[in-house]
Amino acid sequence: MKIEHKILYSYFFNVAFIVLIGIFALQNMNQVLAKLRFVEISDDLNASFLEMRISEKNYLLYRDEKWIANIHENINDSMKAIEATKDDISRVIGENNLQLLRSYLDEYSKVIDEIDKSGGKDPRLETELRTVGGKLRDFFRNKTQLERQKVNDIISNAKSVLFISFLCILFLAVVLGRIVSKKIVVSLREIEGLALSIAEGNFRKIEDVTSKDELGSVILAINRMSEELEDRGEEIIQAKKLASLGVLTAGVAHELINPLNNISMITQNSLELYDYMSKEKRLALLNRVAEETKRMEEVVRNLLDFSKAREAKLREANINDIVRKSMQLMENTLELSNIELILKFERNLPRVRVDEHQIEQVMVNLIVNASQAMTPGGKLSIETKKGDEDKVYIYVKDTGQGIPPEYLPNIFDPFFSTKSSGTGLGLSVSYGIIKNHKGNIWVESTVGVGTTFTIELPAYGRTKEVKDEQ
């Protein structure tokens, strides 16, 4: 069943339930009102009968005609009252009982008439009068009491019915809401997981799609997308390669055209004005040509590294050793640049599985950048650290000029450089290498204070280390 229908049905169900309870309560109320009305009428009638009975007794005692007249008056009043409210009465006690009441009154009235006619000399009639009077009294007493009792019953009954209904509605609302939302949340989680794994390039599918609701169709749609992506993965990768090739060629061309232009201008002038140049000038220009060729060579080499970054030769290694090796490569440069070096190696670092040369290359790139950022000199601290959750960290921290926040999103892009003779490839190559090692690299920087690059690499063979300790 669709979620939409589930929600709709349970909503209708609850509404119908509430309406039913309302009708029930209304009916109860009407019953109670009718019964109360009856009790009221019967109280009035009762009073009038009491008066009748008193007149009856008075007549039997004093034999005065005026009591008989009184009784007739009362009977008439009562009859009128009964006829006026006969609907109300019959609704409560039924037509039969109403007839019974009428017949009692008739009987009473007849007996009184007979007593009146006989002049009160027949003791048999007096006994009959008493009997009929008693019947009337009992009738009213019983009926009134019964109806009062019924009113009480209805009210207490309604009370418990309403209370139980209230509990039912509450229960339904909570349980239905819970079931529906739980189902939605659980399915959404599943879908989220699926989407995330697809985003990571793992074209997984949810195999058993049981629910036939909207979420089920969403899962089916994602499954289809996943299939499609997997089928077209090759195409996409090719397209990506082409796109980055486009970016790459444009970037390389830009990087190469400036030194090329310099060499070209120097050569044109040298050819044209050779005789007008001093020997020193010629030497200086040739040196410049050599420098520019080097610059071009660097661009090309970086480019090769960039394209090679994928085929890493992974070997188990200790990060501290790798960092130490790259420091050996850089020591001279740093000393020349008037940079103070601070090294902090954590001992018992978990081992990693990496391509040593590539990690060394990353370190060299970061250190070169750091030294370039601290032109008059500064402090470079390099630290290794064991993180929680099987991670190893390398921090490269400088006290250089820092990176303006607006450049931060771009520094890892290929060919992004703020240096007049930079290639802009160092960080993008480093990024590619670290990502290839399933690691992370990020930067924190404050302009005028310094920059810290952090490399996070997954530890390897942690289980082995634990075993060793046991």
Partner: protein, 120 residues
Amino acid sequence: MSNKIMVVDDEKIVVDMAKMALEHDGYVVETFLSGESALARLKEETFDVVVTDFKMKGIDGMEVLRTVKEQYPKTKVIMITAFANLDTAIEALRGDVFDFFPKPVKIKELKASIERALEK
């Protein structure tokens, strides 16, 4: 009276080479390494031709062109770009550039262009 030429590029070797070639032909040449310093100098001195690189940090060639055309309409501007892509070319032409050269610059062509600029 010899003609005054301004050369602007953020690479020193470029302006040096241009200066060397142009001075040999008898021009008076001043060189600047940024758009900012070039525009500052233009306030003091009138130049016949400005040769400027397109891509520079800060004030770039396009802005130099715009300022020159606004404030010194008689001065001719020649633009040098790494790549003559269509957008930059159109933009420069709209800005009334006199000529437009891609890198690597052929110095002879540049000289010819400057000559033409001075004839007009």
